[in-house]
């Protein structure tokens, strides 16, 4: 992902933007390598949350007073910022959800229920997070459709020949992860989208792990839906996005009923609001939506190319350093990867590895990473996963290596 245009970042200064990083865990300085689960939040985002509650808190859209107007304006400004961040054509194509999972469920429960029937096929991949498996299984159960799975090779890359064989006129939805949370693989989504469109399928891209690392342009990709969560992008938890093409969103029925999603309600009949409000019933997560804009501004100020270049450096450094540890096997060796490195240590349970690293102040994730079918395909119960963000350093990777050597000594 390294490009010629990047400029080196001042990592010490960036670290100072993230107050949570400055602490001792179990008596040692925190090393936070669980960024694929959630990133830490910069001061700008924390301040935005406080400022909103201290100065602007009001319910949005229907208020007539100054605070309601300020809150509404900030809320809608976030929608525009996300539109620009994703390269979407219109702000109305941005639907606020509670997260990636919620956004996928929205599509399954509205588009899926409306347009899929018995025998129709949904295509996902072996490396999907459970969030991109279970909503489709539920739809299959309800509507009698069939779930098909694109296989992968041992490196953790999609088998594109097999993908093409699986695509038929029965394929109605292709829902694939942009970047694998467990392996870091970057999938060739543009290729997948074009092939799916050739058989008339719509495509949902799960961008939960991609948005921090990769420039996203939904118009250039031509995906029908793109979903992500703010909390993996330096933003608050409980806030996600569904991007959908206007033509599709307009034909989809609403999912949840309630306030804001209506045009007119009588006891006999309700008419529904236009997009995006049709899909945003109830008081939304106003503060978190507003603070997302600050997260995006933070990313834009650093520059995605610069972030990607630094993360790429960390990944290369970590891959070399970890592979020098005897008995360590990196799981997921795709040619195109983001800064996620999953591994197993011979004869040592991943959970023991995680516990002993934590005791040394190093936060990693262990287990199946909500990808049980992927773990089964790879023939392992789980991995230890270190995932790097812009504020991480090679010194911290050295700490990880030493930490793992300690794990090995203790288990010997």
């Amino acid at each position: 992902m390294q490009t010629a245009t990047h400029v080196p970042l001042d990592i010490a200064q960036i670290r100072a933007d993230f107050p949570v990083l400055d602490q001792l865990v179990n008596g040692r300085p925190l090393v936070y390598f669980d960024n694929a689960a959630t990133t830490q939040k910069p001061r700008a985002v924390l301040d935005a949350l406080t400022r909103y509650y201290e100065h602007d808190n009001a319910n949005i859209h229907r208020g007539i007073h100054a605070l309601a107007e300020r809150a509404t304006s900030a809320f809608e400004a976030s929608r525009k910022a996300i539109q620009s961040f994703l390269g979407a054509c219109e702000a109305e194509e941005i639907i606020f959800t509670y997260g990636t999972t919620d956004a996928i469920n929205l599509v399954a429960k509205t588009y899926g229920r409306t347009y899929l029937g018995p025998g129709d096929e949904i295509l996902i991949s072996t490396m999907e997070h459970h969030s991109n498996i279970v909503p489709w299984q539920m739809l299959c159960e309800e509507r009698g459709c069939v779930l098909k799975v694109i296989p992968i090779n041992d490196e953790g890359e999609l088998l594109l020949d097999e993908y093409e064989k699986l695509l038929t006129e029965r394929t109605k939805i292709v829902s694939v992860v942009h970047v694998s949370n467990a392996l870091g693989t970057i999938n060739p989504v543009k290729y997948l989208i074009d092939k799916a469109h050739a058989v008339g399928a719509v495509v949902l891209i799960d961008g939960a792990q991609a948005t921090t690392h990769i420039e996203i342009d939904v118009q250039a990709l031509d995906c029908d839906f793109y979903v992500f969560s703010a909390h993996k992008l330096f933003g608050p938890t409980g806030m996600g996005v569904l991007y959908g093409k206007r033509a599709l969103l307009e034909t989809m029925p609403p999912w949840r009923g309630g306030g804001e999603m209506i045009k007119e309600v009588t006891f006999e009949r309700t008419t529904y609001n236009d997009i995006p409000y049709k899909f945003e019933a109830g008081t939304p997560n106003i503060a978190d939506v507003i603070a997302v804009r600050n997260a995006l501004e933070y990313v834009n100020t650093l520059g995605k190319d610069n972030i990607a270049a630094h993360e790429h450096e960390l990944l290369a450094y970590a891959t070399d350093a970890l592979q020098s540890i005897d008995g360590l096997r990196v799981i997921g060796q795709a040619k195109e990867k983001v800064s996620v490195i999953s591994f197993v240590l011979d004869g040592i349970h991943h959970e023991d590895t995680g516990v002993i690293l934590d005791q040394q102040g190093i936060a990693v994730r262990t287990g199946h990473h909500c990808c049980q079918p992927l773990m089964r395909r790879l023939g392992i119960a789980g991995t230890t996963r270190a995932s790097f963000s812009v504020y991480n350093t090679t010194d911290e990777i050295d700490r990880l290596v030493k930490g793992l050597q300690r794990v090995k000594t203790m288990m010997a």
């Binding site: 179990n26 004869g347 040592i348 349970h349 959970e351 023991d352 995680g354 516990v355 002993i356 934590d358 005791q359 040394q360 287990g367 789980g382 300690r406 203790m410 288990m411």
Partner: protein, 139 residues
């Protein structure tokens, strides 16, 4: 030794360590000394639910006492150590004493800090199973 005497003995042993890592090392070493469970007892009925790693517990009544044997998958060394501590405290005790035991040693030796919540959940399941068996066999 009574259950509480055994707990106090364990607390004393752990008091020798200031550092979490040293406590964990001690637990791992205790796990290594856990006698293996015979292969025919590695059955699903003996599996403890809630553990990330596989842990088996076999419960028997022997000479008016409850007798426990357990095992964890070989790679899960911290689990083996935790299991060995529970066996040491609760095995070969009177059923009613096991059923009513207050296992204060877990907090006192900082075990809750040594284990993740998931593993603690597995341990809680194991304690529950040991106590249920004891209760069923209490006079």
């Amino acid at each position: 030794m009574t259950i509480n005497e055994k707990q106090d003995e364990i607390i004393e042993e752990f008091d020798l360590f200031d550092d979490q890592l040293d406590k964990t090392q001690y637990i791992i070493d205790l796990g290594k000394k856990l006698p293996p469970l015979p292969e025919h007892l590695h059955v699903d009925a003996n599996l403890i639910p809630g553990c990330q790693s596989k842990v088996w517990l076999n419960s028997e009544l022997k000479a008016d006492a409850v007798h426990f044997e357990a095992d964890a998958e070989p790679t899960a060394q911290i689990s083996r150590g935790l299991v060995s501590l529970l066996i040491r405290v609760l095995s070969d005790q009177k059923p009613d004493e096991v059923a009513n035991a207050n296992l204060y040693f877990i907090d006192r030796i900082g075990l809750s800090n040594l284990v993740t919540s998931r593993r603690a959940g597995g341990m809680a399941s194991m304690i529950q199973r040991m106590k249920s068996f004891a209760k069923e066999n209490a006079l």
